[in-house]
Point group: C2
Amino acid sequence: MPHSSAGPEIERLITLMARLPGLGPRSARRAALHLLRKKEQLMVPLGEALGEAARQIKPCSECGNIDVNDPCAICAAPGRDQQRICVVEQVGDLWALERAGAYRGRYHVLGGVLSALDGVRPEDLHIGKLVERAADDGICEVILALNANVYGQTTSHYIHDVLKDCAVQITSIARGVPVGGELDYLDDGTLTAALKARKLL
Amino acid sequence: MPHSSAGPEIERLITLMARLPGLGPRSARRAALHLLRKKEQLMVPLGEALGEAARQIKPCSECGNIDVNDPCAICAAPGRDQQRICVVEQVGDLWALERAGAYRGRYHVLGGVLSALDGVRPEDLHIGKLVERAADDGICEVILALNANVYGQTTSHYIHDVLKDCAVQITSIARGVPVGGELDYLDDGTLTAALKARKLL
């Protein structure tokens, strides 16, 4: 059934919009109508921004981050700690850590996690390049910052294994009670992890 | 604070995406990353579809619908009932009625509803053109299909007033229990309206 009554141009736009995460057919229709109402202020600039970003943004051949330059701005920054590599699953995780502003080293984006269910094998991730980078004399620490679920843990273990011959320290970000978290609302796994990792005050 | 660490092209894309209804800053970031992962299959086609639709789609000077042609496909269709005009607030409402497939006449899109709060006055809506169309000898009925809220009702009353000198029947779509609706879950206003409008079986 067609989404609209305005011809194939709009149908195509709505179909493409509905493929964005967070938008279904109904919200894609609403978004398309909103765009058509704001043609000059939003629709035309968004079309251009998409084309521009698609043309200019590329993956960094060093770390897998995305940027207009290769190597990316983070790999190229002379002021950043060159001895540490923080391993993340996706570019979005790198952005989250950068927004937090707590890390000043470099990154390595795996591009996913190992998953037998989804058929993601080690050779599908950028693990080879990570081993190559970790073997460099200048690197002293590899920090694993993968998601705290079963896929992230499996992948962390796998990376720990393949890096064990490199002369680097392998660490993992801490598990515990999130800032502002109330014990009553936290799951058992988090509470167990927080108790196990307790520290002397 | 920047959304990402990938330069101004991505920042601009995320800022524009976040202005779509249904997307906030966080989901706009996710959508931008999804687009960058599906560059050829989604990002480039979507950019082109936006530009194409922005260039080709225009409002129908007769009814206010949007289409690549003026008059629009509905106004131009010879097979549709030329004696009835269904008045709706927005193009999305017209699409909804067309999807339902229960109406085969023509439409009139007001482009909004009267609202003292938002400063929408009669001259801001396409009411003048509606009066002009309703004055045509060929029109026998104007159906008001505005939303069932206070703004829709105010606007319905106003249109009823300005059309009272035209020789047309003015009707409004029915209020009542929606199909599949359970009385226990309906609000008092709907139940009252459904009772008042009860019909002999």
